[in-house]
């Protein structure tokens, strides 16, 4: 079922994975990507080779993925998604703690630091979760991922996809530099995604 869905996602979006800055590996990583479409998490997840895919959990919004019947099924049984509260994090319901627990000793995460999709395809400023994760887990590689064209395949507010060719580009892993400020790091992380954009 999982590989069937992954195959379907790849065919539908024609998403070719390009490993520009690193090779696929089962080591612990946080893949952080621009968020353009509801298909994003699925497409990155599908682009990973099966052994890597089995260890990688997309981080997704609880308010979206618990609605209806299909979404919770996909989130829990297929992607093994980590559902977090994005509206009002509190001390007791803090996504950071959940993400650190989910990483554990062997797992990797897929993260969308913008926190939501942008209708115009431009990137919104990153939220600070990525920075805190990098600070707590300096051993984990942060891999920038550029998703291309998915906002045209399934724009915000549409439910029927158009079969254009998408792309998933994996860039060079980065780490938090010693003493690097939060804002500077988040901007550097965002620039790492933007760099892969073809003119």
């Amino acid at each position: 079922m999982k590989s069937l869905l992954a195959g379907l996602a790849k065919t539908l979006t024609g998403a070719s994975a390009r490993w520009l800055g690193c090779a696929p590996d089962t080591r612990q990583r946080i893949y952080f990507a621009n968020h353009t479409s509801n298909l994003d998490a699925l497409v990155i997840w599908a682009a990973l080779p099966p052994p890597v895919r089995a260890l990688t959990r997309p981080v997704a919004a609880r308010d979206y993925w618990t609605k209806g019947r299909v979404r919770p099924y996909l989130a829990n049984h297929i992607f093994h998604a980590l559902l977090i509260e994005r509206r009002k994090p509190t001390m007791t319901d803090n996504p950071l703690k959940e993400m650190l627990t989910a990483l554990g000793e062997r797992h990797s995460l897929i993260l969308f630091p913008e926190g939501g999709r942008q209708a115009d395809g431009k990137m919104a400023p990153f939220k600070s979760g990525l920075y805190h994760l990098a600070k707590h887990r300096s051993d984990v590689e942060l891999v920038p991922v550029l998703i291309e064209n998915l906002n045209r395949i399934l724009p915000k507010g549409e439910f029927l996809p158009v079969p254009l060719l998408g792309g998933v580009n994996f860039g060079t892993p980065l780490h938090l530099e010693p003493g690097e400020a939060k804002e500077a790091f988040l901007q550097r992380a965002q620039a790492a995604i933007r760099e892969m954009l073809r003119p």
Binding site: G14, S16, A119, N149, N151, R152, P155, K156, E158, L160, V162, P163, L164, L165, P199
Partner: protein, 315 residues
């Protein structure tokens, strides 16, 4: 409509297979002899192209063997992949989403359905008239006015090139040609063979003798030597295949000349679009050739003209 295994068909298919075997042998010998430098990359690309040709011939042969419906399905799929490459490369906006959905999932199947039921009166005008008017209406309802004319024109162009023009290849099967009933499969084979062999020969002549570029800004690989050599030799081959067509040798030479000239222009125009968008190929689906649209650019321009010439003069 089915490709019957009459002797002429066997000669055509056999000829293509012999040609492929010879090319593979030449490719193999060249790969042995040239082991380094810039030439090596060309040889590797040549061999990738030849391998892809085997696959394309196999797919085309299989589609024809299953009869008219197989060929229609094959070209419908070709249109689908070509349109996908074309629209991917041309910027559209969220407001075009529904129009694009119509293009892929309603207009495309409808066009090939009309060909399957041989409704000439409608398949000849469905896209140029009805889809032409419908696309801007649907986009206007979506309410986004930015670059409206440009966006609409791009979608209409995609529909015309990737669906309408390509669909005229299997439309050859619908023609009613006196004294040629039930043999239209061969006419389609002849058309695809001449168009593609013209591409191949222009490539071969260009690589061996090419010196003077025709339009260096548009397509750096197109030379006058390649053009002349390709057009003349493909026309001669087309003329020599007259026995498989409803044409006399002289008519067959004329038709082949039309196919090769239109094919050349198709390659040139589609290159201009690629250069404008800053890419080398439309995709990477066919090893060595690029995308589907890179392979069929000549077919796109030649098919409707060949179809109407044949229809006007011979049916």
């Amino acid at each position: 409509m089915i490709l019957k295994l009459d002797p002429q068909t066997i000669y055509l298919v056999g000829g293509v297979l012999v040609l492929l075997v010879i090319s593979s042998l030449i490719g193999w010998v060249l790969a042995k002899r040239i082991t380094g430098g810039k030439g090596r990359a060309t040889i590797d690309n040549l061999n990738a192209r030849i391998r892809a040709w085997w696959l394309m011939v196999a797919v085309f042969g299989l589609a024809m063997a299953t009869g008219g419906i197989g060929s229609i399905l094959l070209f419908a799929l070709t249109s689908f992949f070509a349109l996908r490459e074309f629209i991917t490369l041309t910027p559209t906006r969220a407001g075009d989403h529904r129009s694009l959905f119509w293009a892929f999932f309603i207009i495309l199947p409808l066009q090939y359905y009309l060909i399957a039921i041989k409704w000439y009166g409608l398949f000849a005008i469905m896209i140029p008239v009805y889809a032409f008017l419908f696309i801007p209406i649907r986009s206007a309802i979506a309410g986004d006015c930015a670059n409206f004319l440009e966006r609409t024109a791009k979608i209409q162009w995609g529909l015309m090139i990737c669906i309408y023009c390509v669909s005229h290849v299997p439309a050859l099967l619908t023609l009613d040609l006196p004294g040629y009933a039930g043999q239209n499969g061969k006419l389609m084979f002849y058309f695809v063979l001449v168009a593609q062999i013209s591409d191949v020969l222009q490539y071969v002549w260009g690589k061996t003798l090419g010196r003077h570029k025709i339009a260096p800004n548009v397509s750096p690989n197109k030379t006058w030597e390649g053009f002349a050599g390709g057009v003349v030799s493909a026309t001669l081959i087309g003329a020599a295949l007259w026995w498989a067509t409803p044409f006399t040798p002289l008519q067959s030479a004329g038709m082949s000349l039309v196919i090769t000239l239109m094919g050349f222009c198709g390659g040139l125009v589609m290159s201009a679009i690629k250069r404008d968008r800053g890419v080398k190929d439309y995709g990477n689906m066919i090893q060595g050739h690029g995308g589907v649209l890179d392979r069929i650019d000549s077919l796109c321009f030649a098919a409707p003209v060949f179809f109407h010439f044949t229809r006007y003069f011979f049916s």
